[in-house]
């Protein structure tokens, strides 16, 4: 048996060597394929951590951790320029605004904002609901009602950042605030009727409360705005009309909408105003691929993969830096955070 094994090993090795020799001879004639412009490197060790997010200046990756028994739990960070050197950024774990300028404190019946820079706190009229701060940090918005069940009317409210000028802007079945398109327009979702699978995306004008429909479909999910709010990506799954299933991109002024090629259906995040990054769901794939879709031109390009075993995302856990130049992901191989530097 052992003799057989050794013979098998030898034959396999010989076959592999022959294949590689052939590949080496073949490569020069096909070496015009450009080198990958992406760069991959680990940021953490010891299997740390999950749900990374970025500092506003894109220099630091942040995450919740407690690296050892004696260390405090908190938000830790690693500079992308100094991989593997993690440090406590703040022991205060809280619901921060995207730039970490404000803390949103939720208590039963009370919503409080705190300006991190000086610790000033004030109550806003959201009565315990979470609020979304507008891009210019002039307004807040929230919803109240039965958004989670879709079974009743929800009301969309706005107020000034200081809590003044509280105004009900709209009342819709199952309505919720998905974000701010600008300081003058909200991005919301709702339903025409309770207890229906059909969900509708709207642009809601702050000055006059006008609703502009952007999309509607049964089981419409996962809507996210591009960085300047000009585009939205979402997916539909499943829909009675199979041609509707998949990933969609639409302009938030209602002027354009298109379905992304089915081969790129998967995880997605905006890189900037108009470029969407995608990791396709490929059931049998060993590694992941990173693609880019330009919503303005509908052109796609492969940015990374599929032959790099280091690029495989664990649990769909990845985040794009605010400057759009880098991507951090939890590695499926070692559960560490890895940095992927993106080409222009």
């Amino acid at each position: 048996m052992k003799t057989t094994l050794h013979t098998t090993q030898f034959r396999l090795a010989l076959a592999a060597a022959t294949l590689l020799l052939l590949a080496a001879v073949w490569l020069p004639a096909h070496a015009d394929v450009p080198e990958a412009a992406t760069h991959l490197a680990p940021l953490t060790a010891d299997g740390c951590c999950t749900r990374p997010f970025w500092s506003e200046d894109s220099r630091q990756v942040l995450f919740i951790d407690k690296p050892d028994e004696s260390a405090p739990a908190g938000i830790y960070g690693v500079e992308t320029a100094s991989p593997l050197q993690t440090a406590l950024v703040t022991p205060r774990i809280a619901l921060y605004s995207p730039g970490m300028d404000y803390v949103i404190d939720l208590q039963p019946g009370a919503t409080t904002l705190e300006r991190v820079a000086d610790g000033t706190r004030w109550t806003v009229p959201a009565q315990g609901a979470s609020v979304t701060i507008s891009p210019g940090e002039t307004r807040i918005a929230w919803s109240r009602g039965s958004a989670s069940t879709g079974g009743g009317t929800s009301r969309i409210w706005i107020a000034d950042l200081d809590g003044g000028n509280e105004t009900q802007l709209a009342a819709l079945n199952g309505a919720s605030v998905s974000g701010w398109i600008s300081d003058e327009a909200l991005f919301i979702s709702g339903r025409d009727a309770p207890n229906t699978l059909e969900r509708v995306l709207y642009c809601l004008s702050v000055p006059d409360g006008t609703l502009t429909e952007l999309a509607r479909a049964d089981n419409l999910r996962g809507q996210i705005l591009s960085t300047d709010g000009s585009w939205v990506a979402y997916y539909v799954a499943p829909n009675p009309d199979p041609t509707v299933n998949g990933l969609w991109v639409a302009r938030t002024d209602g002027s354009a909408r298109f379905q992304v090629t089915p081969e790129l259906f998967g995880s997605y995040q905006w890189r900037d105003d108009h470029r969407l990054l995608l990791i396709p769901l490929q059931f049998a794939a060993t590694n992941h691929e990173l693609w880019e879709l330009d919503a303005a031109t509908q052109e796609t390009r492969l940015l990374h993969g599929p032959d790099d075993p280091a690029f495989k995302v664990n649990d769909g856990d990845w985040a794009v830096s605010p400057d759009g130049r880098k991507l951090v992901f939890v590695s499926a191989r070692d559960h560490n955070l890895w940095l992927l530097t993106l080409p222009e």
Binding site: A16, A17, L27, A73, Q127, N195, N245, G316
Partner: protein, 248 residues
């Protein structure tokens, strides 16, 4: 250095190493054949078709999910406060297949939950049982009937509506043969869960225990639960906090 030249040199340099690596890898594979051990993940996915927007997607994984944490003292109180199965979002009427050879233990036994219809199959060879919940109609199977891995056993339904206008999905559990311990299907079903987790209504992950934030934060790293056992995720320092107490 020009790309093609460097690539060629690297390829030549890599040949001896790769040959050695391939040779070294063979004994391991042979040992597996000789010992004929049971596969580490003996089960298959409960669907005939691959995942996709028109077929099925991962909904809620097993374990310490954010949703389960919020429901730990209500929906999930009898099973450690965690989501003790895996949910697959799928249209009503999607064919469901047996995840392994087995024997039907129960049809529509509502003591096991997951209405309107459910099915429990024992897999004595693997020493586990599989449970299929929120089925569209009573499975056309009888207690004691043998089923084969991959055999059509039921149609998926909806947990919230008999009209399939609520939350259509399949709830799949893997239990012990006494049907009281619940195990993480992601560690027992032969599938690439990192691919499956790329898209679906899974959301932002698992509840943090700030006294040990690295605990139970991956789909494949989740605790076992037992019916009637203690709440596993009633953390002293959770994140996010339980905001359910306040008006929404």
């Amino acid at each position: 250095m020009h790309t093609s030249t460097r690539t060629r040199l690297l390829t030549w340099a890599a040949i001896p190493l790769m040959v050695l690596a391939i040779a070294a890898s063979v004994p391991g594979a042979t040992v597996a054949q000789e010992d004929a051990e049971a596969p580490e993940r003996p089960f298959i996915l409960p669907f005939q078709d691959p995942p996709g927007p028109g077929t099925w997607l991962l909904g809620q994984p097993y374990g310490n999910t954010l949703g389960a944490y919020r429901q730990r003292n209500r929906t999930y109180v009898r099973s450690g406060g965690i989501h003790f199965g895996v949910d697959f979002s799928t249209p009503c009427g999607t064919p469901i297949v047996a995840i392994a050879d087995g024997v039907v233990f129960a049809v529509d036994n509502q003591n096991f939950g997951s209405p309107p219809h459910n099915l429990m199959i024992d897999h004595p060879s693997e020493e586990y049982a599989s449970f299929y919940g929120h089925l569209l109609e009573p499975p056309e199977l009888t207690v004691g009937q043998e089923v084969k891995q991959g055999e059509l056993i039921a149609m998926s339904g909806d947990s919230a509506s008999s009209t399939c206008r609520g939350r259509p999905h399949l709830h799949l559990e893997i239990r012990d043969l006494q049907h009281v311990w619940k195990y993480n299907p992601a560690t027992l079903i032969d599938a690439d869960w990192d691919n499956l987790a790329l898209i679906g209504s899974f959301g932002p992950g698992f509840e943090y225990n700030l006294d040990n934030p690295r605990q139970w934060q991956h789909i494949e790293d989740q605790p076992e639960a037992v019916t009637g056992g203690p709440i596993l995720n009633d953390f002293d320092n959770p994140w996010p906090p339980d905001w359910n107490a306040g008006p929404r």
